[in-house]
Symmetry: C3
Subunit: 245 residues, 3 copies
């Protein structure tokens, strides 16, 4: 049993994060709220999203897992105007999700959840953690796109560095300590990532937001950020590319 109302903008934030990784996902609802874990088909990136029942305008749910076609649901919420409330109801009998936006009702068939994975998010202990404005990273990514298809992130006690190296050209984003909101680093770490995956990860952060990054050397990066005014949390994991590969 699941029946809830949610602001257009909040639902859009959730769907935007997942849509960078998968086309369909298993939405797990229970009394506390929504739990959602997705991994991309190449198993390079993973997102773990939780949205408290308080992020909804109204919320009634017993344990239920709904397989949802992300693109279909994004299409429906495009009908909504800013501030519109979207009503979601699980019709168990017909195995469908009923979505109501103002006077429009959209019934969409659910996807079989047995084919959808519920990936286990690894518990990593990463030595370095920092918090910074996502827009710095966006700028570094855009600069790198004309140079290479991968980037290297390095953190030292002095600051953060994103760099990208092509055959002849080079891009470098340097953020000294004073441009970083929090920096917890006693050793230098350094890992390389796929530029397109990293770009997708950053795209999922709403403009103007902060992100926390946890890193090690040749380890996955973990990016965490809040959504729905703190009533939701996203944990994003991205596997490294090992240099010399």
């Amino acid at each position: 049993m699941f029946e809830a109302e949610i602001k257009n903008e909040v639902l859009k934030e959730v769907l935007t994060v997942i849509s960078t990784l998968v086309d369909e996902a298993k939405f797990n609802f229970n009394q506390q709220g929504l739990q959602l874990k997705v991994v991309d088909p190449a198993h390079v990136a993973m997102a773990d999203i939780s949205l408290s029942s308080k992020a909804f305008e109204s919320y009634k749910a017993q344990e239920s897992s709904l397989g949802i076609d992300i693109k279909k649901l994004l299409d429906v919420i495009k009908l909504a105007k800013a501030g519109d409330i979207i009503k979601l109801t699980h019709d168990e009998e017909k195995n469908s999700l009923i979505v109501k936006v103002s006077n429009v009702t959209r019934r969409m068939q659910l996807v079989d959840t047995t084919s959808l994975s519920d990936p286990k998010v690894p518990n990593l202990s990463l030595p370095v953690k920092l918090k910074l404005e996502a827009q710095h990273l966006s700028q570094g990514i855009r600069a790198s796109e004309s140079v290479s298809d991968h980037i290297t992130l390095a953190v030292t006690p002095e600051g953060f560095e994103l760099s990208s190296k092509g055959d002849t050209d080079f891009v470098n984003l340097k953020l000294p300590k004073d441009l970083i909101k929090e920096l917890n680093c006693s050793e230098t770490v350094r890992s390389m990532f796929s530029l397109s995956y990293f770009a997708n990860m950053i795209k999922s952060v709403s403009a103007g937001g902060d992100v926390s990054l946890s890193l090690g050397t040749d380890y996955p990066i973990m990016m965490e950020f809040e959504m729905a005014e703190g009533k939701g949390k996203v944990k994003y994991l991205l596997a490294p590319r090992i240099e010399g590969e």
Copy 2:
């Protein structure tokens, strides 16, 4: 003989309606104003437009029929800024239309009108009539586009309903009486239409406008709306798709 000045915006409104149906049209001018009837190549939709001479800034005309290439004329008015006056003159000798927008003069050859139909608009007696905001219909159309290529309209004494049914999914727009401006319905009627034709029809209404719909069961729909601040009228007819086709 035809020579007139018209506001950019008004001419654009007229051309936008026709351009959804035909590439070329026969513009009939007389002392009262412009009369224009077009039918799409598949004979599924038809528009009947009349624009009073009062909708023009200046107007001098004797009976004349001009075959105009709609796209060419739309291209010329793109040169105009908001509020610009466009001057149209028929050069009978050279069989061309002279269009003046600020300092630019564009002479375009007229299309032979013998090849252009002047369709007879059928006089239908449709049992149900209602008036509503066009934007409700736009929302219903956009929601339907991901589900099917046809829609069903139904009117009862209680309200209006637009629905669209795909293999697994379903869209429904319900407008109860209080969201309808005028409702004249003593029997339930229901007809199915091609979604793309219906979408084009609604696109021709300027944003924020009202439309009047007249309907029967398995009958064409007639949509009427005003333009040029009431100095022009559009009657749009769309043939039904018979269910079970």
Copy 3:
């Protein structure tokens, strides 16, 4: 040796002019500022740009010629926000240009200047000169695009005329004396140009600007305009198409 800081907008103006003609160009810096001459591959159009050292926020240069990939540099300045200062440094050892935009550093390899021409701009004595708003020309160009691929410019002591003639259609832009800022014409001149080249030339003028045109009969047209608030000058030459060609 070259090291300078320049406003995002000023650098963009310079690059926009050149990018309509070439992909790579030889930027000549000396103590007075930047000198830049480019000719398009077909040798139909040529631009001669000079930017005073005063157009820069800071400027240090000894004679140096840098071969720059225009598109790469345009990509980097896209990272900048309005009002951002861009720092350019020539790294002679590595034969590269270092571009700094806020916290991002972009190192781009320079192009070999021996392959880049430094065209000699001919010294033409053209009998007619006039100054007018570039936007009038833009309107004439847009109107002509649906009619032909060439335009004819004519100047008389009474005014300026741009016309374009297709098989059946015709476009004409007439600017009488009072719509022209300066008119220095004692004889009638008339030349034909390629529409796409002329359009590119006008596109390089910033919106709302004035241009000076110098013309003869079947002679190249010379267009001059200022940039960087008068601290830079562009001279643009376009060869005529001889009528009857």
